[in-house]
Symmetry: C2
Subunit: 139 residues, 2 copies
Amino acid sequence: MTIEMFERTLELAALLAAEIERKLAADGLTRSRAQVLRRLGEEGPMQQRELARVFDVSARNITGLVDGLVTTGFVTREPHPDDRRATLVTLTARGVTAAQTIEASRHELAEAMFAGIPEREKHAYRGVLDTLLDNLRTR
Amino acid sequence: MTIEMFERTLELAALLAAEIERKLAADGLTRSRAQVLRRLGEEGPMQQRELARVFDVSARNITGLVDGLVTTGFVTREPHPDDRRATLVTLTARGVTAAQTIEASRHELAEAMFAGIPEREKHAYRGVLDTLLDNLRTR
DNA sequence: TATTGTTATACTCTATAACTATA
DNA sequence: TATAGTTATAGAGTATAACAATA
C-alpha cells in the first residue's frame, strides 16, 4: 500500500505547511518573505540578484518580495559600496528579531513534531527519508 | 538532531510538491484545479458550495477555480435539476481522462518514491508518520 | 555589450463584502 | 429571511519582456 503512505506523506506536508504559515502570519510574514529573511539572517546583506539565484526565481519576483519586506519594516535597501547598479538588502532590527523568532519557532515545532518518538524509530525514519529524497532527486 | 530531520522532512515536501506540479503543468493544470478534478472524479458532479465546504475555501475561490477549469475544457457548469440557484460542476470527457491520469501519476510517483525500501522499513516509516501526524494535529 | 533592478503586463490563488436570483 | 453563486475589490506570489542606469 505505497499509495497510502504516499497520501499520508502529503498530508504531513500539508499540515506542516499550514502550521508554519499560521505562525508566520501572526508575525506579519508570508512563507516566501520569511524564506528571504532566513537567508539574510544567515548570510548577512545580499544583492537581489543573488537572492534570485539562490531561490531560483525571477528578478521581478525578488523585487516584489523585497518591496513587501521594506513596506512592513523587515529590511532596507542599502546602496552597494562598489556597484551603483546594485542594492544590498539588509535586515532592520525588526528583521533580525524576526529571523531569530523564525528559527526558534522551527526548533520548537521540530521538537513538538518528533515528541514521543524513540531514538530507534527516529533512526529508521531518518533512513527511509534519505532514500525517499534520493528516489525523488534522481528522477 | 530533530531539527535536521525536520528540515529534511520539509525538503521532501518541497520536492514532492515540485514533482507533482511539474506533471500537472504538463497537463495544463494547477494543483488547486487538479484537486477539484480529483474530487469530481470520485464524487461525480458537485455543487460549488459543496466544493467550497470540502476544501474549506471561500465561494469566490471556487468560482475562480471552476472558471479556469471551464475555460480550459475540463468541466462544465450544468443546471441543478431541483435548485435553480445552484450549478453542478461536471467533468467533461477531457476532465474524466485528466482525473484518471492524475490518479495514475500519483500511483506511479508513489511507487517510484518508495522503490527499494524493504517492507520492514516501510512499516517503521508508516508508524513514525502516524505519530508525526498525531503530534501535529493535536497542537 | 553585459548586468542590476525596475516598470509594464499578465496569470493564479486567496479573501471579504455587496449584490442577484432563487428557495 | 436564508442560500448559491457572481461581481467588485484587494493582496500576494509568480513569470516574461522592455527599459534605464551602470559596469
